[in-house]
Subunit: 119 residues, 2 copies
C-alpha cells in the first residue's frame, strides 16, 4: 500500500519500447513506457489495452483511421484490433492491460519483451 509517483518511476529508465511494471491488480498490470519513433503493426488476440498519455502526443494508427492522443487522454485498443503506435518526439505512457499481454502481440520480433522489469 505504497503510492507510486509516475515522475519518479519514469526517471528510473530511459530505453524506448520497453514497458516497466509499476503495479498489479485483479490480474492486470500497470506499466510505464517511453515511446519514440515507429513501433510495429500488431494485435493482441485476447487482451484489450489502455494507453494513457502522461507526456507528449501519441499517434495511434489503426488500419482505417489514426487517433492523436494527447496528455491526460487515453485510448482503449480492443482485443483483435491491429494497431501501431507512432511518435515524433518521445512520449510517456501508462498502460493498463492483463498480465498475459506481450508488447508486440501476435508478432515475435526483436522488439518483443517477454520478461518485463518491475521498478
Amino acid at each position: 500500500m505504497e503510492k507510486v509517483n509516475l515522475e519518479q518511476k519514469f526517471g528510473l529508465f530511459s530505453e524506448h519500447w520497453s514497458p516497466k511494471i509499476v503495479g498489479e491488480l485483479n490480474g492486470q498490470h500497470v506499466k510505464l513506457a517511453k515511446l519514440k519513433g515507429e513501433f510495429i503493426w500488431h494485435k493482441h488476440e485476447n487482451e484489450d489495452e489502455l494507453f494513457f498519455v502522461v507526456k507528449g502526443i501519441l499517434k495511434m494508427e489503426f488500419r482505417n483511421k489514426t487517433v492523436y492522443v494527447h496528455e491526460n487522454e487515453f485510448i482503449i485498443v480492443p482485443k483483435g484490433t491491429e494497431h501501431r503506435p507512432v511518435t515524433d518526439e518521445e512520449v510517456l505512457v501508462m498502460l493498463f492491460e492483463p498480465i498475459s499481454t506481450v508488447n508486440t502481440g501476435n508478432e515475435n520480433t526483436e522488439l518483443t519483451k517477454t520478461i518485463l522489469e518491475k521498478i
Copy 2:
C-alpha cells in the same frame, strides 16, 4: 476506438462521491470521480482498487497508516483492506477496478451507488 479526454469528462458532472464510467476493458472499468470531504470506512472483498490522482491531494486512510497521494501518483488498495478516502479540497481521481466493484464495498449506506452513469 475513440480517445477519452479527462478534462472534458470531468466537465460533465459536479457531484462528489459518484463515480462515472469512462471506459471498459478486460472486465475492468475506468471511472472518474470527484471527491470532497470524508468518505466512509469500507473494504472490497474481491476487488483491488486503483486510485490515480488527476488533481488535488487524496488522503487515503488505512487502519494502520495514512498515505497522501498527489497529482500523477496512484495507490492500489488490495482487496479486503479497510480504507477511507478523505480530502480537504476537491480531488479528481481516475479509478481502475473490476466491473463488479461497488463504491462503498461491504457497506450499504446512502452513499452507495449501485448503478453508475456512463459518460
